[in-house]
Amino acid sequence: MSAGRWQADAQGRFGRYGGRYVPETLVAALDELAEAYPRVSATPEFREELEGLLASYAGRPTPLYLARRMTEDLGGAKIYLKREDLVHTGAHKINNVLGQALLARSMGKPRVIAETGAGQHGVATATACALLGLECEVYMGEEDVARQALNVFKMELHGAKVTPVTCGARTLKDAINEAMRDWVTNVRTTYYCIGSVMGPHPYPTLVRDLQRVIGVETRAQILELEGRLPDVLVACVGGGSNAIGMFHPFLEDEGVRLVGVEPGGEGVRTRRHGAVLSAGEEGIFHGQRTLVLSDEDGQILPAHSVSAGLDYPGVGPEHAHLRDVGRAEYLPVTDAECLDAFQYLSRIEGIIPALETAHAVAQVRKLAPTLGKDAIVVINLSGRGDKDAPQVREILAGERDAAH
C-alpha cells in the first residue's frame, strides 16, 4: 500500500473533498462495506483469487508498448502506451469490477447493480457477474442506450438486465441517481458496484486500490525497459478511475508529472463541456464533496462530451485534492481534438482508442513535441474504440456531407 499522506482520512476525506453525503438508509451499508473491504481484501484467499482472475481471465499484466511511429511523428518525447485496451472487455473497468464482484460475493450479496455511461463499466460488471453467478442489473441513461447499442446487447448476452433511465438529462449522472435509488430500496440484498473513484466513502478508496494495478505494473515495466521512471503520465479523467490507478503509485515520485485530460466538449468557455477540474465549483453531489458543474443556485448542470464515458458533471474527490495541492494538473481537450486523435492513433499505430482515451492521446500530441527526445511520456491507453466506431463513422460522414 502507498504512503499515508495520499490516503483518505477515517471519514473518507481527501483534503476538503470526499466524505459521505447519503440518505440515512445507506449509512449502515457503507459502514458494512468500509469494514468488509479492508478485512476481506487482506485475506490470502481474496488476493489469490483476484490475482488469478486478473492474470488468467482478464489478461494481465497488460503490455507497456513503445509507440515508435507516434514518437517519430511528433518529434519529441518517447511515447509509451499502457495497453489497458487489451484486457478482457476492452477497458480498465474490468480491474475494478472483478475485485468488487468478489467482495460482493464474500459479503453474501446475491445481487449487483451498476451504472454505466459509455457501457464499458456495465459490460465489465455484467461479465464479472456472469463469471461469479451473481444477478446483475445495470442502469444506463436512455440517450446512452441509443449511443451504445452494442454494449447494451453485450450486457444482455451476459444475462444482465439493462434498465434505461428516462429522468433528467438521461445520461451517466441520471443513471447514478437511479442506481442509488435502487440501492436505497434493496440495500439488504444488493451490492452497488460503482464504476469510478467517486461516490460516498469508501468507494473512492476502494475503486482506486483496485485500479492501482495499472500504475504498479507501469512502474515495474518502465524501470525494466528504460531503467528509470517516466517524466510524464497522461490519462483521461471522467470520474477518474483509470487516471488515479495510473497516478497513485507515482504520487511520492515528485519528478513524475501527472497530467489528467478532461472533456473540453465544445470548449470550456461554452457551457457544453465536462471539464470539472478546469471550470467547476465545489459542491455536494452523488454522495461526495467534490468539484461539480453547477449553477449559482446549486443545481447540477448537465455535462457534455462526445464520449459518453466522460459525460459527467462531477469528478472523483481525490483528483480535486490532487489539483488543489498541485500534485497533478488537469487540462481540457475538445471534442474536435479528440476525434482527430481517435483517427490519428488508428492510422499511425494501428490502435483504435476509445473516445475517452483519445482525449489523452490528443493532449500528448500537443505535449510531446515540447519535450526533448530524452523525455519519456506514458499514456494510459484506458480502452479500445470498437464501441465508438459507429458513432465516429456517423460524425465523420456528417462532416463530409456538410463540406459538399
Binding site: 471519514q11 466524505g19 459521505r20 453525503y21 447519503v22 440518505p23 440515512e24 438508509t25 445507506l26 449509512v27 449502515a28 451499508a29 459502514d31 429522468c167 433528467g168 449522472k173 441520471d174 441517481n177 442509488m180 435509488r181 436505497v184 430500496t185 434493496n186 440495500v187 439488504r188 465549483e281 459542491g283 455536494i284 453531489f285 452523488h286 454522495g287 464533496r289 461539480v292 453547477s294 449559482e296 443556485d297 446549486g298 443545481q299 447540477i300 448542470l301
Partner: protein, 264 residues
Amino acid sequence: MNRIDERFAELRGRGERALMPFLTAGDPDLAVSEVLVLAMAEAGADVIEIGVPFSDPIADGPTIQGSSERALAAGASLRRVLELVKRLRDQTPVPLLLMGYANPFYAMGVDGFLDTAAEAGVDGFIVPDLPPEEGADLYEAAARRGIDGVLMAAPTTTPARLARLVKQSRGFLYYVSLTGVTAARETVAAGLEEGVRAAQKLGDVPVCVGFGVSTPEQAAEIGRYADGVVVGSAVVDRIQRAESAAAAADSVARFVAELKAGLR
C-alpha cells in the same frame, strides 16, 4: 422554544398527532404554492414541509422527481423559496420546514442561508443527504439561531446510531418508514412500530414517520404510536392532477382534513 416545539407541546396536551403535508415549492409555480400552503394550514396541517427542488433528488421516487423537474423549469430556487416563506410568514403562524438536498444550501453558504432563513421565518429544515457527521457546521449554526435541523433515521439505522440521532435531532426525528425512496405505497412497512417505539424510548424528541404514507387509513394506523406523519407524494400527486390552482387548493385541503381527522 420555537414554533415547531410549541406545536408539538400543544398537540401532546390535546392527545393529538402531528400531520405534516409536503409539497414541492414552485410546482406548478410559486404563487400557487403560496395558496396551497395557506389552504393546508387552514385545513388542519400542523407543520408544513416545503420542498426545495434539486436537479438530482436521489432519495425521491418518480412523483417528487417529476415535481422537482417542473418546479426547476418554472424557475424555482432556494432563494425564491425563502422569499415564499417570508410572504407566508406574514399570513400564517403554521411551522414551516424546508426539505431539500445539501448542494443548494451549501451553494448559498451556511451563514447566507441561515441568516436569510431566520429573517424569512423558517422554523427548520431536513436534508436527506446530509447526515450529522457531514453537516455539523450547518446543524450547529442553525441551532444557535433557533432553527431546527431535523435528522432522519431509517430501518437500517443501528441501535447505537439511533441513540445519537435522537439526541442530535432538533424539533423531531424523521423516521423513514421503509428502505426505499419517497412514493405513495399500498401498505405500511413491517416492523415500523417497533422501530418508532425504539426511537421514542431513547429520548424526548417527537418521532414522526414519512415515506410511503399516502392514505388517511395509513396515517391513522401509524398515528397509534408515532408522534406525527409526513405525507408527500400523495399530496404532490393531487396537486398535479388538479385542473386549476383553485381545484388544487380544494383537493389538497380536503385531503389534509381527512388525514388530520385520523390523527385526533
